[in-house]
């Protein structure tokens, strides 16, 4: 097992976790690229239909599609950054475990950066490929057009999403590297768990609900992130 041996083994042996992370990243990139390409095709369609539509309606529709396109891009970017952040933040205990066993800081950072880079790259490459495939299918089935791929959009999505996932994924890695192993191993750091002594459960409905609500409130940072993430997904679906 060389320096790349541990991260690759680790990813391959956590089959479910790795495949779910890559699948989620892929879906995020795929849906963003496909919707961008689709809205671009729709925008071009409107522009070429100026003779049929009034100029005012054409402008309104074009601006609306441009707005939707920007929104899709922003939502996709935020989703990808959160995913990368959560993917690495949930490994804080593993950082602590390896550090406590005596692994030097530079190697700990190297191992987890390799894992981050591998999953982000796999997610982005697969996402771009699937995005093009979906665009090709929709172009032939829905528009019955001659298919001309737009590589500029793909490049924009690929570079932005890859950079964002690496930047946001690196944050928990650097934080954990600076932490003492005992802090990294402490449950206080899983998903930003806060140990408050003053908290009171909101409900007295039952033990299950009390446990669930306490867990939700004590894992403040994770709960907030998950709520924002779900809200964004619903906005995207509604749009």
């Amino acid at each position: 097992m060389n320096n790349y041996g541990f991260p690759i083994n680790d990813l391959l042996r956590r089959k479910l976790q790795t495949s779910l992370t890559i699948a989620t990243l892929t879906l995020s990139v795929t849906s963003t690229l496909f919707l961008l390409l689709f809205s671009n095709r729709l925008g071009s369609g409107i522009a070429s239909a100026v003779g049929i539509l009034t100029q005012g309606l054409g402008t309104i529709l074009s601006q609306f599609i441009l707005f939707i396109g920007v929104l899709i891009f922003v939502v996709g970017a935020v989703l990808t950054s959160f995913l990368a952040f959560l993917m690495m933040a949930q490994r804080t205990r593993d950082f602590g475990l390896i550090k406590a066993a005596g692994c030097p800081n530079n190697l700990v950072a190297g191992y987890f950066m390799t894992e981050l880079l591998t999953t982000s790259l796999a997610g982005c490459v697969l996402g771009i490929a699937l995005g093009f495939l979906m665009d090709y299918v929709s172009s032939n089935v829905v528009f019955s057009n001659y298919y001309l791929p737009n590589f500029w959009f793909a490049l924009l999505v690929f570079v932005t999403f890859l950079v964002l996932s690496i930047v946001f994924g690196l944050q928990p890695i650097f934080k954990a590297v600076k932490m003492s192993p005992i802090n990294a191993l402490s449950p206080v750091n899983y998903y930003g768990l806060t140990v408050g002594t003053k908290h009171k459960a909101l409900s007295r409905l039952g033990l299950t609900w009390r446990i669930a609500s306490r867990s939700l409130f004590r894992r403040q940072s994770a709960s907030i992130r998950i709520i924002i993430l779900l809200s964004l997904v619903f906005i995207l679906l509604t749009v």
């Binding site: 097992m1 060389n2 320096n3 041996g5 541990f6 083994n9 680790d10 042996r13 956590r14 593993d94 475990l97 390896i98 550090k99 406590a100 066993a101 005596g102 692994c103 030097p104 800081n105 530079n106 190697l107 700990v108 590297v177 600076k178 932490m179 003492s180 192993p181 005992i182 191993l185 140990v195 408050g196 002594t197 003053k198």
Partner: protein
């Protein structure tokens, strides 16, 4: 009176306080102690007396709130995490009560892992892994994952991993705490071997057999050194 070069661990007015919300919990209070090299030390005391915290600070995986800590001639008190991580890698072998093995690595890989951090050649790593697994009696389990082992076996793997880089100081936090008598006996045999090899071993324990093995017994009470028996 011990000379400086004979001392492995020295603490001066060592204090550790944890903050939990508004509460402050003083775990170690003004602790002064000296532990000589090549001695087997048993650390005893009731739960919450500060044994684990003291071991964590000696091993460089936690920092004191105030006071000084010297280990193997190095002042660890104000050192940053980069220094401490290198120090742990080269000088300390830590055995945790909860084993803390890497779940995605096999037994052999867990033992080989620390040697890869110090960039030892692969042939030497292979020989050393076999040697260590033979010492702890787990050669037949080398390709199993941690989750496929019993508690006692995991603890023995943790010992083998702690010894991989042949550290001068070995710290074990209640190594028999979670084990039955039969498995505890195997761990005691490993400790006996370490003692015979002249390693400095500090074990926090309630186990009378381990205490009998010790050259010196330090008793902690409420974060203070209550007694010191040769």
């Amino acid at each position: 009176m011990l000379k400086n070069e004979d001392i492995m661990v020295q603490t001066e007015a060592l204090e550790k306080t944890y903050e939990l919300g508004d509460q402050k919990i003083e775990v170690l209070k003004h602790l002064d102690l000296s532990i000589p090299k090549a001695k087997f030390i048993a650390l005893r005391g009731a739960s919450g007396s500060g044994k684990t915290t003291l071991l964590n600070i000696i091993g460089g995986i936690d920092r004191p709130t105030s006071g000084k800590i010297f280990v193997a001639g190095q002042d660890l008190t104000l050192k940053d995490e980069d220094f401490l991580s290198d120090f742990r890698c080269n000088n300390v072998g830590f055995v945790f009560q909860a084993y803390n093995l890497v779940s995605t690595l096999t037994v052999a890989e867990n033992v080989a892992f620390p040697m890869e951090w110090t960039r030892k050649p692969e042939e030497k790593i292979e020989i050393r892994v076999n040697e260590l697994l033979e010492t702890v009696g787990l050669q037949h389990r080398m390709n199993h994952f941690a989750a496929q082992l019993s508690g006692g076996e995991q603890q023995r793997v943790a010992f083998a991993r702690a010894l991989a880089n042949d550290p001068q100081l070995i710290l074990a936090d209640e190594p028999t705490g979670n084990l039955d008598t039969k498995n505890a006996q195997k761990i005691i045999q490993v400790l006996q071997i370490l003692k015979e090899h002249g390693k400095t071993v500090i074990v926090s324990t309630h186990d009378l057999q381990i205490i009998e093995l010790a050259d010196q017994v330090l008793c902690l009470e409420d974060g203070r050194l209550a007694s010191e028996n040769e």
